[in-house]
């Protein structure tokens, strides 16, 4: 799976290169092949973290904490990709680095929530796994509210269409990139979760060793 993801990423530049340039945006619109899959994975990661946290909190599955933490870190990672590539796009499309576009702003807010989640996990001290789980769960529940509120807040100003309608020769590379990012997400999630689970096991062994 790691190989497949790596292979797809290696081929991605060709695929993207093969796509025709968009009329008004020229070459720069190809950021979109990177931006949109990141944003999707950002959402998937946030939801994964929230669901895993709920399982940890309510069903008391200790292993779910590892999934929640891994997905939380990936949410920050893909969120950062999204938030870096978004302004790059905005610079070309609208001439400014940052616009208070509904999606960009709500992404920023969700990103902030998961950065706070990681800060809590790191600096919260003992018991921060439970606290973090509560935080991630609330973060997930907050997604629709953030989206609706930011969206409606923005409709007081002229709304610019972000998503160009894609012809087929652009659509294929786009879906190719989405698949590659999904694979990358799954690979990273599994690796990071395994690492976290192994860390827990090493600690358990360490404690056991200490006792005998």
């Amino acid at each position: 799976m790691l190989g497949l993801a790596a292979g797809m990423f290696a081929l991605a530049p060709w695929m993207i290169n093969a796509a025709p340039n968009e009329a008004t945006m020229g070459l720069v619109y190809k950021i979109y092949f990177f931006h949109m899959p990141s944003a999707w994975m950002f959402m998937v990661a946030a939801i994964t973290s929230g669901i895993a946290s709920a399982r940890f909190l309510f069903l008391k599955r200790p292993s779910a904490d590892g999934w929640a933490l891994a997905a939380g870190e990936l949410a920050v990672l893909f969120g950062a990709f999204t938030l870096v590539s978004g302004p790059l796009w905005a610079r070309k499309a609208w001439g400014v680095w940052w616009v208070w576009d509904a999606r960009l702003t709500s992404s920023l807010m969700l990103f902030m929530i998961f950065v706070a989640y990681l800060l809590l996990r790191k600096y919260g001290g003992p018991g921060s796994d439970k606290l973090g789980a509560g935080m991630a769960l609330f973060g997930m529940a907050n997604v629709p509210f953030i989206y609706v509120s930011v969206n409606y807040w923005r409709t007081f100003h002229p709304l610019t269409s972000v998503v160009p309608t894609l012809p087929v020769e652009m659509g294929i590379p786009l879906w190719y990139c989405v698949t590659a990012f999904t694979l990358l997400f799954i690979v990273l999630l599994r690796m990071r979760t395994r690492l976290e689970h192994q860390r827990v096991r090493v600690e358990a062994l360490y404690l056991l060793e200490d006792e005998s």
Binding site: L131, G134, F138, F145, S149
Partner: protein, 228 residues
């Protein structure tokens, strides 16, 4: 069952009020802090003696959020002082009822703060607070409840955590962005020369929805996060 629940919540509220009435510590400091925040922001946002657009609504809600954070932190610091939060958790009472009790106490406190804050903002920025005051009260109630519902849970969770003073705002502010947007936009719509009631109504509805979802979630999560 329900009666026992509200009885416990009421006992906790009454205890918190008794303590607060005697010391007035949290109310007076929070209130003064809120006034300070209003003035600080005014210096930045009033240009040539005239406030920028919608500034009154923005300053009002920023002041509510800041002083709310202060009140939350202080309230739970008080429960931490003699480890009394642990004593509350030791009681066989319904844990969510303890949450509701703490929540109600802080809400009452913030209601008093807002009772001073809103007229102050109205005075300083010539905001029409008495026109459509029903809408304004609904916005304030819905927004404060949403903010405090999330804040009470987080502050209670953080009692055991290290660096809780800084973690509370870090966690609370991003989480309550919808409340802030709804509060500010709704209030701004009311403060316009011709108030836009439809817009205010939309934000009141969103706040109501937010409150229902997050109070429910907090009631669910309070017990599992408080046992370690």
């Amino acid at each position: 069952m329900m009666r026992a629940f509200f009885r416990v919540a009421w006992i906790v509220v009454r205890k918190d009020l008794t303590v607060e009435v005697r010391s007035l510590e949290i109310l007076s400091t929070t209130l003064f802090f809120a006034v300070t925040v209003v003035l600080m922001f005014s210096f930045g946002l009033v240009v040539d003696g005239r406030p920028l657009n919608d500034v009154a609504a923005a300053i009002l809600w920023v002041a509510i959020a800041f002083s709310g954070t202060l009140a939350l932190g202080r309230t739970f610091e008080r429960e931490r002082h003699n480890d009394t939060l642990r004593a509350l958790l030791l009681a066989p009472a319904d844990r969510p009822a303890l949450y509701v009790g703490k929540l109600a106490g802080i809400l009452l406190l913030l209601a008093l703060v807002e009772a001073v804050l809103v007229p102050l903002v109205g005075l300083l920025f010539a905001a029409p607070i008495f026109v459509n005051s029903g809408y304004l009260i609904a916005l304030l109630a819905g927004g404060t409840l949403g903010f405090t519902a999330v804040g009470t849970l987080f502050a209670a969770m953080l009692v055991r955590a290290r660096s809780r003073d800084v973690l509370l705002p870090i966690m609370l502010y991003p989480m309550t962005v919808p409340v802030m947007i709804a509060g500010v936009r709704g209030t701004a719509a009311l403060f316009q020369p011709t108030p836009d009631l439809a817009v205010a109504m939309f934000w009141i509805g969103l706040l109501g929805f937010f409150d229902v979802v997050f109070v429910t979630l907090a009631l669910w999560t309070f017990d599992p996060v408080m046992t370690d």
